[in-house]
Structure formats: C-alpha cells, structure tokens
C-alpha cells in the first residue's frame, strides 16, 4: 500500500529560501523562467509563434500591491494543473524531456514555491492551447492547501500568476525594483518582457546583448561592450573581448579588470543558462590562470548544479573551459602582435596572470616571456630588457636572499633577479629551452661573498686582532667572520645566510625553549644536513674607512662592542629579524653609547 509523506510546505519554503535561493528576489527569475518554458513549449507545436511576457503591477491605495505575470505560452489544462502545480518537485518539463532536460531552463519543479517568499497566496490562471480546454484557476496557500476551479469566459491561451505583496516584501512590488530585477534576470531573453505600473511601462530587455549585435567596426564593438560592462558592474574595464565556445554552446564577453587581481581571489562570473540569469558567482567557467577577467556568458548546453550557483563540472564544461581559454589566448597573442601599447598596460596590471599562463604553456612562454617584468637589483625590468643589457640570467631563489644581497650586487654592477615570487623561479629556469646559449645561474647569498676580492697577506695580518675578537663575539650567534674588499665602500659589513642557515636559526631558536623530548627530535632533524658550525657569515669590508680604523684598535672590549654593533646593523640591512639575544646586543650597545657620550660631557 502506498503512503504519502506529510510535507510541511512552510518548512520547505524556509529551507529553499535559506539554502537554495540567494534571496526572495529569485521569485522574479522563477516567474520569467516558467513563462519562457511555456512559450518554448508552444513554439514546439506552433513553430512560427513569437511569444511575449508581461509583468504588471497594481497598487491600489490602502491595499497591498499585486503583481500579474503573464505569458502567452502553451498554458495548462485542468489535469496538468493538478499534476504539476500541486506536486512538489514534479515538473512538466521533466515529463516532456526525460530525466535530464536540456531544452528548458528549469529542472527542479519547485520554482513556483519561491513566490511564497513574497506573497501569502499564489493564484495561477491558465488556459491551454489544446482545443476545447477551459481556463483553470489554481489558488494555493503556504500551508499546502489549494483549490482548483474551472473558469468560464473566453481567455486567450497562456498563464497568469497573480501575487499579492506580503508586508515584508513590498519593495519587490515597486516599479523600479521590479524593472531592475527583470533586467537582471531576463535581460538576455529573446522574448519581449513588458513591465508596467499605471502609466509607466517599458520593454525591459529591449536592448538585448551587445555581443550579438552587428557593428560597423571592431572599435565600435569594443566601445559598446565596455559601455555594457560599465552599466553591469560599475567598472571602467581595461578592454573587452567576445567569448565563444562550441562546447556548451556558449557566447558572451570577457572584460579585462582595470585593477590588479589576486591569484587566490575567488572568481565570480555572471552566467546565463538559455538566456536566463543563473548566477553572479560562477567560478569554474574559465581556466585558473584567467583571474584577470570578469566574464558574462550565456550557455545553452551546460548543466547547472542543484544550487544553481554555477555549472556542473563535467567533461562538457572542461571542453568549454578550454575553448574559452583559447579565446583569451588568441586575444593576448593579438595584443602582442598588433597592440603593443595595450599590451603594456595589460602587463602592468596582470603580469601575474601571464606568468601563470607562461609557466604552463610552452608556446605562450615563447611569445610572452620577454615582455614579463621581474624585480631586479637594478629595478623592475622585463626579461627582454634584462637579456639585452645583461645577457645570462642570475637570480636569487627567495625574497629573503634577494634583500640580503641587493645593495652589494647593485654596487658591483651585477644585476640579480628576485625569483622569490610565484612562477618566477619556474619561468627563469625554463629560459635556456627557448634561448640558445643562454645560461641561468642561481645565486646563494653566501656565494656572493666568495666573489669579493681577497685582502693581501699584509692586510690580513693587520686585521688579526679584529678577526680573532669577531670570531669570539659572533660564535654564539653561529656566525663566522670574513674579511674581503667589496663595493660599496661605505658598507662596513655584509651579513649573509643561506636557506639552510635560516632554517637552522629557527631550529636553534625553538630548541632553546623546547623540553628534552622535542629538543631531541630537533637534534635528530638537525643531523639531516651536513651541518656547518656556522649558519651565516659577517663579511667585513676592508675598503670601508670604519673597518680600517677598527683594524688599528687594540682594546678588545671596544673592538668586541663595535663588532657586535656592526653585526646587528648588518642584520637589519639584510632585513633579517633580530632574535631576543640580538635585540639584547642592540640595547646594550645603545646604552653604552649614551653612557660614553655622557662621560665625555662630564
């Protein structure tokens, strides 16, 4: 024996409004959708039928406003009214199209319930095009009860949905708001939608969409697309290009963002399904690297997810995504070949996106790598400029290393690239595949010291005391002193540490405060690398006048204090964080300086 679930309709409506619909305004989308479905169904039996929709507001004084949404579509017979409007989840479209309809927008058959978000009663008056069908009225309440009656009189085929504004939903029954919502959801629909209230009326979708229109020139089309972008999103986009894909039967427009976009920012594109707005936040339509784009597209052959927020990520969407990616690629290639000024502006804003693309696409890499900017010790420059001016590529792998050596490398005329940002390392190491005879060298901060000029034997001997004291002063910081000659002369000392050095600084720091168990684990971890006794180097510059004076000093405490202060200063210059012990040195040194000054005064 079959039983029926007892359904609490109010609960279902709450559930829908909280979890399926983004807000009560979606009732407009559902009304339009039902109307469009009905017109399409009528066109199947009457191919020449044009179809139209209207939304008419009535605002009698002292009474709640009403909205009459009318379509001249296929209409419903009494039997269909019972079957489709009274059975939650059932959809007339499913019966017509099989389990997964592709011809109609709606799939879930619960759309009509969204009207309960704004009205406590739904009245549907419908007359089927089937000959001899009388008009039928269906009157439903949110408690799940409904009445159906046959009407007399000669109504035209089609359907009217009549809603009466609930107190908390009055804003949706005002002309401006309603018109805005109709444009928002149905601006792309191919049937005229008339919105009216008293003497005011308009065809909400009169203008259609610009990328489907004919233009006298490419420039004119771009101008029109950009104007559409400004109206839709309030932004003056950098550029606009049409999008097309056979897979998914997609057309639309991609706007180039006028500001730098974050690599990790959530993509949110406006998507229409069969010309009805599906979502403002579809995030899986374009390739990951296309984060510089805001798209508006219509798809006639993709499946929406149940939440109707985006498209179902199946093979068809994957193919569509590749095709749309190709449109963007072709646009960028065209910029490179024909519009260098625009390309320059584009790169200025979106070089990260280009880098992402170049990293995964060899052909694109060849085309764009020379245009892409990198941070160097000589300022920002494109790889092309770098190659022309400096030849082979020299880079540091991290921002930290770059900051350590930037000043010295620059003074020595060596142009070093900072490859510490996303994709830079990958892009630079790939260069020899594209450019014959080009070499790429990774520079470790400690290596740069090895390239400095050695001091003579006499000079080394003269600095014996300084180096002995420095060795003792720096030992507890696991730093090794070195004496060389390098530019700039005004720099007395250079601190450098490698990636491993930095790791061991952290390891030591944690070990100092860890309990024996954890300290023991860190000990075992530390054995992994062949561990040098020192993690870092402090290289004194024999060309520096202060260092020359230090060499001539004989009082060990003064030399030690000076070394400690130079150590702290060089850490700061290398953008290295000071640990508690190093902060202690700085504080002690400053206090000693004050005391020394006061003693002189006294």
């Amino acid at each position: 024996m079959g039983h029926k679930f007892q359904i609490h309709l109010r609960g279902i409506i709450d559930l829908l409004s909280k979890h399926l619909y983004s807000g009560p305004e979606v009732f407009v989308r559902e009304l339009l959708q039902n109307g469009v479905d009905a017109i399409r169904a009528r066109q199947k039996v009457e191919p020449e039928f044009a179809g139209s929709l209207s939304l008419e507001l009535h605002t009698p004084k002292g009474k709640p406003a009403t909205l009459v949404a009318t379509d001249d579509g296929i209409g419903l017979t009494e039997e269909e009214v019972h079957k489709f409007l009274a059975t939650i989840g059932e959809s007339s479209k499913r019966m017509a199209e099989g389990d997964r309809p592709t011809d109609f927008i709606g799939q879930f058959g619960v759309g009509i319930l969204s009207c309960f978000l704004v009205s406590d009663e739904i009245v549907v008056i419908s007359r089927s095009v089937k000959e001899g069908s009388p008009a039928v009225e269906w009157r439903a309440k949110p408690d799940g009860t409904y009445d159906v009656r046959t009407l007399t009189g000669d109504l035209s085929p089609g359907t009217q949905v009549i809603l009466t504004a609930r107190e908390d939903a009055e804003e949706f029954f005002k002309f401006e708001r309603l018109s805005e919502l109709v444009k928002h959801f149905g601006g792309m629909l191919p049937y005229p939608i008339k919105v009216s209230s008293g003497k005011r009326n308009e065809i909400a979708n009169e203008r259609g969409v610009p990328w489907r229109q004919e233009f006298s020139s490419e420039k004119e089309r771009t101008r029109s697309l950009l104007m559409f972008g400004r109206e839709a999103f309030g932004l003056d986009f950098l550029d606009a290009l049409p999008l097309r894909s056979k897979a998914g039967d997609i057309d639309g427009v991609a706007f180039i963002l006028p500001h730098e976009a974050s690599l990790t920012a959530r993509r949110a594109h406006r998507v229409y399904l069969k010309n009805m707005l599906l979502s403002e936040s579809a995030d899986n339509l374009l390739p990951d690297w296309a984060f510089f784009v805001k798209a508006v597209v219509n798809a006639n052959d993709l499946r929406p997810t149940a939440s109707r927020e985006t498209f179902y990520d199946d093979d068809k969407l994957a193919a569509a995504r590749d095709s749309l990616g190709d449109c963007l690629r072709a646009y960028l290639v065209n910029l490179a070949e024909k519009r260098p000024e625009k390309l320059e502006k584009f790169i200025d804003l979106h070089h990260r996106a280009l880098k992402a693309l170049a990293a995964e696409d060899d052909e694109f890499y060849r085309l764009f790598i020379d245009y892409l900017p990198f941070e160097t010790t000589h300022g920002r420059m494109s790889l092309g400029e770098y190659r022309r001016e400096h030849g082979n590529l020299l880079f540091t792998p991290t921002v930290d290393q770059f900051r350590q050596i930037a000043r010295v490398a620059s003074a020595q005329g060596r142009c070093v690239i900072n490859a510490g940002y996303s994709y830079d390392h990958e892009l630079l190491t790939k260069a020899p595949e594209v450019f014959d005879d080009l070499t790429v060298e990774e520079l470790d901060a400690t290596e740069i010291v090895q390239s400095f000029e050695d001091v003579s034997l006499e000079e080394q001997e003269s600095a014996h005391l300084l180096m002995t004291v420095a060795e003792s002063a720096l030992k507890s910081f696991r730093c090794e002193p070195e004496l060389k000659k390098f530019k700039p002369n005004e720099l007395p000392a250079l601190f450098s540490t490698s990636k491993d050095g930095r790791f061991f600084r952290s390891l030591e720091q944690s070990k100092e405060i860890a309990d024996p168990l954890w300290g023991g684990v860190l000990d075992q971890l530390g054995k992994r690398e062949k561990r040098a006794s020192a993690h870092s180097q402090l290289c004194f510059n024999f060309e520096n006048p202060l260092v020359r004076r230090l060499v001539s000093l004989t009082k060990k405490p003064l030399i030690r204090r000076s070394v400690e202060m130079l150590y702290v200063q060089s850490l700061l210059l290398a953008h290295q964080p000071l640990n508690a012990k190093e902060m202690g040195l700085l504080n002690d040194g400053l206090l000693a300086l004050i005391e020394f000054g006061m003693a002189n005064e006294e």
Binding site: V399, V521, L578, M583
Partner: protein, 369 residues
Amino acid sequence: MNDHYEHVNRLMVEASQLSDGPAKVVLVEMAVGIADSHQDLDLAFEVRKILLGTCLSADNSALMLVTFTWCLAQHDRNPERFPLERILFEFRWVVSSLPTFPEITLAKIREMQAEMVRRYESVGVSLRSYWLMSRKMAVDMGDAKAANKASRELHNSPTDWLADGHETELGFEITFRLFREEFDLALKAAWPFVMREVYSPHFEGQACADVLFPLLRENRAKEAMRFHRRGYKLRSKNIRHLDSIAKHIAFLALTDNLARSVRLLERHLPEAMQTSNAYNRLRFLIDVLPLLDRLTKSGKETIKLRLPMECPVTDSARHSVVELHKWIHTIAGELAQTFDSRNGNTYYSGRLAGIGQMQRWFSPCPVAQ
C-alpha cells in the same frame, strides 16, 4: 607605535597572493621574524600558527616541526596565555610527518606518538584523530600490524570537536585500503570524491590519482582516463603531491600515452630531486618506473628529454632508457633501504622489486576521447 603589525600584515597580504610553495613560506617566515624582533609573543604565536599551515601546503615538514616545537614550548611556559587547544589540530600534522624523516628513529617516533596521546588526554579530547594519524603513519612505514590495530581503534573512538571531518577520514581510508591491496574497498572509499558527491578539491585530487591503478586492474581504462584528465590538473602545481603525480605518469605509460607520460616525467623529476621530503621522492621514483619499463618494452632505446642536474646521464639531450632506468632504480633502492632499515621491515624494497608486475595492466587508451 604598532608599525610592526603593519609590516607583518603587509607580508601576510603579500603571502596570501602567492600560491602554496616555498616562496610563500619565506614571506610568512619573514613575518615571524618581525614579530620575534619586536618581542611580540602573541603576534609571533599567531603568525607561527599560520606558518604551520603554510608549511603543510608547501611540503616543508621540517620547518613545520621546528615551528610547532616553538608553539608548544610557549604553551608549556604559559598555558593560560597559549592554551593547548589552539595548537591541538596542528599536532596531528606534525606527528604524522615524522616517518617522512629517515633520520628520526623509530624509538623517537614512538615517543612522540605517546606524547600526542598524553597531550590529548590532558585536555580530555577523543583519540579518534590520533588513531587516524597512527594508521597513516603505520601505512607510511609499511607496518601492516600497527595499521590494522589503529584502524580498529579508530572505529571504536568517539567523534568530538577535534576529530577530523568525514571527508578527511574517507580520504585516509583510500590510502589504507590501497595499502592492504583491497582495491574494491579503495574504489568504494574514493568514489564519493571522484563523483563529487563529497566536495573536497584536496581529496578529489588524491582520489583521482588513487583510482587509476585499481581501475586499470579491472580493465576500466577509459573510465580511469576521465579521472586522469581531471585529477592531474588538481595535483600538478604542488610539489606536495608528487606521489599522486607519479601515479598519473605511470598510468599514462600503462595506457600507451608515452609522449605525454615522458613530458610529465620531464616536468616533475627535477621537483622530485629537489624536494626536501625524501619519502615523497621515494614514492615518486618507485611509481614512475613503469614508464621506463614501458619504454623498454616498446623498443625505445634512447629518449630525448631534459633531466635534472643530479642525473649523471645529462651530457646530451638524448638519453639511454636503460641508463635512466638504472639511475632512478638505484636512487629509489637506496632510499627504500634507508626507510626500511629505520622502519625495521622490507616494505619499500619489496614494492620496488614488484613494480614490474604493473605491466600486466597495460591497456592502451587515448587521452583525448
């Protein structure tokens, strides 16, 4: 007055713009350094907590361990200011990463597991996530007995606020079932991810790789190809997922897509040689061997590809397949022995010895369908 906050904030924003990887770790490390320099303990703790997650995503377990040690020590010094609950979630990442360091002894790993239990019990939370991690660790160390015990305990432990979510447990179930060679159960656990019934891009990426061999075994290459196409993209950008990437490479070879398989090997072998995670390197090297076997079987004597600097056969652009096979096999063999000797078994040497068996599943299937 609080300039260092701004500086730290700037670095964190800069880091958030980067995809997961070493560059991001360096920026967060720099932020830690600034907080330390200003002796701002609260900020230093907060930023280190972020660093833990950044290290996890960048496969930098060594720094994660060092950082966690510092956080735990701060808790021990001042339990009220830095309650243990704030770092309990990260505890599992740290302890479960220990088997990936061959230099950390088995005894020390056991001590750390006991420490995890002690700390969890001290705040009265369920040991469910402990058993989940212990099972993973046992699988990583090739210890079937311990893995089975942990699995039983896992299912007997209650769920609470600290326990992992359903997705995580299901994701780890795939690995456990593959380890036990229960391929049908592995497929069953992976299916909700590959069919997107459960939403988790992380485990979807893992599952898409994990189903490849079980499906090949069942002669379902065409179906598996769908998951290769989707799954490789999900995993290809992060060095942390080298193990999954290697499965895709082998799968391509076993479906006779040699050109694409070689191209992926060329792209990811340097990463495998550079990674500080020796365990991931080992799993990568073992799982790409079917490609070399396949090349040999197809009569290919030499191939043209770029190899990492470490490879002794890099003199020319064209390399002997036999020599390359030998080189990868040797490194994998040495690593397998290192791990096996620490783990007290022969699990990885056995896996390496049996890798040739995978050729039984050879089933040509084009990538594009």
